[in-house]
Amino acid sequence: MNATGLRLTLGLASVVGLVALWWLYVTLSGVPPYVLPRPEVVGAEIVGLFVSGSIWPHLGHTLGVLLAGFAIGSLAGALLGCVLAKAPRVERVVGPYLFFFQTAPKIALAPLFILWFGLGLVSQLVLVVSLVFFPVMVGALLGMHSVPARLHDLASILRMTRAQRLRRVELPSAVPEIFAGLKVAAVQATIGAILSEWMSGDSGLGYLMVFASTTYRTPLLFAMVLLTALLGIVLYQCLALVERRLLSWR
């Protein structure tokens, strides 16, 4: 058996083991199902959601907010990071504020966003964007600053234009740090998308969670927890895959 085969088998075994433990605990302890439903009930709930098709609009909504927010936030973050790196004076002026907003818990700003942008899609997007923006910006900024001095010398000797320097030296150098930021942002974006649906809106996995919780439909709640976790993992792994291909030179 090769290494990937072994890893897959081990991974599968650990999932099976965990479900078995869960099943055993529920069976032996006799916890009421509204506290902890049996695994097969949760499984049936998930299958049911997909078979009936009722999950699609919610999944679509969450995925839409998540991906749109991720795209807007990371593009804007990478862009501003690059601009700041090229304009050190601006960086010195704006830097402290950005640092303040970066460390401020954006989740705490969510009620404010709702106040400003209403109970709809816009405030959901704004929350996700604000969560994605900062890690990517900091990554781009760090990455652009990480170009070795000798590479800058080389660029000067070849008399590269600003655009050539950016495209041939600075951006490729910054890719590893940008990806580090993107991966942090992916996790944050998932949290943000779910959280924004808790507070506003009438669809999405987060909305379903609140609905399940207030109506004591614990199996549905568990199904949502599993699906959102899966969503975060898939997004993260997609990024890791692209990163491995782009950074194979490391």
Binding site: P148, R150, L151, D153, L154, S156, I157, L158, R159, M160, Q164, R168, V169, P172, V175, L247, W249, R250
Partner: protein
């Protein structure tokens, strides 16, 4: 070069000074007024103790640093475009994400050479430096000596008016260094390049150079310039000759 050295001056350094101001406001004189003429097609070495300003002088020649006073007088006008000067750093300074071929092609790409021609010229110069079989390798897959060959190829691929080398073999082991020295001479003969070579190895300077400029520190200045009258082309026999060892002792005395 060598037996019939061309005396045409490529660039003359005239009373060039460089004063650095430290963070505490003190002035440090890295280069006292220095004057030196660099001849077309020659191999000139700058040797001296650390802090004698040899790297500063090289950076000024490259346009990476500007003199506080004095000037450079280039035959045919000051370098205006990127393909006038080739520079080889102590460490190879390759783009880690690009293949050896793409690294060597980089200058041509920057200058807008057509793709096919750029690839052809880069491949040809890589064969010349002995990396013909490694064009698609990444820098991390090469040894230190091979990386340095690639960076030399990158500096030569556009036929610059002058190639400046800042202790290019300083980080290599002695055996590799000896081999690189011979290859550098072979390549220079083939291309007729003008080379200014900074080193703190007396052996290397005497073996490679048509002329050696000896520098001394605090403030950095040129204390002597010697024509090295050893047989051309250089080879193992030269290293065993009495004249070579006379040069070594003389240069060592002057550096003390």
């Amino acid at each position: 070069m060598g037996q019939t050295p061309s005396r045409d001056t490529l660039v003359s350094i005239e009373n060039v000074e460089r004063v650095f101001v430290t963070n505490t406001g003190d002035e440090v004189r890295a280069l006292a007024p220095v004057s030196l003429a660099i001849h077309q097609g020659e191999f000139l070495s700058l040797i001296g103790p650390s802090g004698c300003g040899k790297s500063t002088l090289l950076r000024i020649l490259a346009g990476l640093d500007t003199p506080t006073a004095g000037r450079l007088d280039w035959a045919g006008g000051a370098p205006k475009s990127g393909n006038d000067i080739g520079f080889v750093f102590q460490d190879a300074v390759l783009l880690p994400w690009a293949s050896v071929l793409d690294n060597v092609r980089l200058p041509l790409d920057v200058f807008g050479t057509p793709r096919a021609e750029a690839t052809e010229r880069a491949a040809a110069i890589l064969r010349l430096v002995g990396l013909g079989d490694f064009t698609s390798a990444l820098p991390k897959e090469l040894s230190g000596g091979m990386r340095q060959r690639a960076s030399i190829a990158r500096a030569l691929v556009y036929n610059p008016r002058i190639v400046l080398m800042d202790e290019p073999f300083g980080a290599l082991d002695l055996l590799t260094r000896d081999r690189m020295n011979d290859e550098l001479l072979r390549i220079q003969q083939e291309l007729g390049a003008t080379i200014v070579f900074v080193t703190h190895s007396i052996d290397e300077a005497a073996y490679l150079s048509d002329r050696v400029a000896v520098m001394s520190a605090r403030p950095g200045r040129i204390s002597a310039v010697h024509e090295i009258d050893l047989d051309q082309p250089r080879g193992e026999a030269v290293k065993d000759s009495p004249r070579f060892h006379e040069w070594l002792s003389q240069l060592r005395r002057e550096l003390r």
